[in-house]
Amino acid sequence: MSIGHTLLGLLESGPRHGYDLKRAFDEKFGHDRPLHYGQVYSTMSRLLKNGLVEVDGVEAGGGPERKRYAITEAGVTDVETWIRQPEKPEPYLQSTLYTKVVLALLTGRDAGDVLDTQRAEHLRLMRVLTDRKRHGDLSDQLICDHALFHLEADLRWLELTAARLVQLASEVRK
């Protein structure tokens, strides 16, 4: 996820302080990984340098950062471009798992066991997400569903590979 673009998007509804941005980000998108304050301030200074935000006001106070940021015209255009651009589909997990399965077959290990262990791990995470969905609001449900569908896709690949292990073994051992 692009933290810069997300923070910019949050600024479109009106100027905010850094700590306010962090809170809004964590509440809406940061269930698993809340932002560090340092990430917020380094991102904001980069956006400031690139002219995508400007300082709308500075308040005196005890906190380390009291600047209030506002999005610029260029910032709005940047968010617009980012939102409209499709994400690159990345087959991130399969490549690692595929490597493990092939190595298991090559070294005489139980490749089925590799897949079974991975299935159990996927299901464990899917239970956590399902439980969170059960107790959450609609935005929790949508975010968890997105993750669940991706995990399910991995599992389908896993089942298909499990069904083709004998064939795969004979090919990789040629």
Partner: protein, 230 residues
């Protein structure tokens, strides 16, 4: 999870249909209030395992104990009584009786155990309310959607307050949204009555509603959580 304190335990089950082994040493255990998913590819033996556990099919060898009693030592009549009073069933296509109204369908298991019509329908409507289909009471299964029909089927499986619910691909004929809702309602209802649920599914999103999973492949079962806890 060890079999100690289990409500239903199966060990070393073998079952063949002709020369083809459907079960080849499979085992299973479930505690009261637990939801266990039985997963595996088509033809792996998961439905046969469910049918054996429910006393519908008799295994060639192996033991199945329900609440301390050996299923194979029971007469057919005793096993039928067990299925009527202590077990509940949900199937992929609901299998409601088309000639009966929805409330009559839900009331059917109670009527079969001798509960009077009025009382049976009162209790049925309570369950239908929990499953969000109380307003469909007087419609026939042909007049309701697939999702609604499956909720009626779930209400029917729960109406006798069974101790074990056997659900064979309960969302297999539903779209994602309806499938999710059925799973949510089924597992919530089961947990509130401390019923155990044996959930056969090949869908990971459905299995995610369980507490743990058993994987069946080539008639053999594998309990990943048990292996990991050991």
């Amino acid at each position: 999870m060890t079999p100690a304190g289990s409500l239903l335990v199966a060990q070393d089950l073998h079952k063949s249909y002709g020369p083809t082994p459907a079960l080849d040493g499979a085992g299973f255990s479930i505690h009261p209030g637990e939801v266990v998913a039985v997963m595996g590819p088509s033809g792996s033996g998961k439905s046969t395992l469910l049918h054996c556990l429910a006393g519908i099919v008799t295994p060639d060898s192996g033991t199945i104990r329900y609440d301390g009693r050996e299923l194979s030592a029971m007469s057919d009549a005793e096993r039928s009584a067990l299925r009527r009073t202590e077990f509940g069933f949900v199937f992929q296509f609901g299998q409601l009786v088309p000639e009966l109204t929805c409330v009559e369908n839900v009331a059917l298991p109670l009527r079969l155990t001798g509960v009077k019509r009025k009382e049976a329908e009162r209790r049925s409507l309570e369950w239908m309310e929990r499953l969000e289909v109380a307003d469909l009471g007087h419609k026939r299964p042909g007049e309701v959607s697939g999702g609604q029909g499956q909720r009626v089927a779930v209400a029917r499986s729960l109406v006798t307050q069974p101790r074990v619910i056997f659900a064979d691909e309960p969302t297999g004929a539903l779209d994602s949204l309806n499938g999710e809702r059925v799973m949510q309602l089924l597992t919530e209802a089961a947990r509130s009555t401390n019923a155990a649920v044996v959930l056969v599914t090949h869908e990971a999103r459905v299995a995610a509603y369980s507490d743990r999973e058993i994987v069946v492949r080539d008639g053999k079962s594998r309990d990943m959580m048990l292996e990991h806890s050991v």
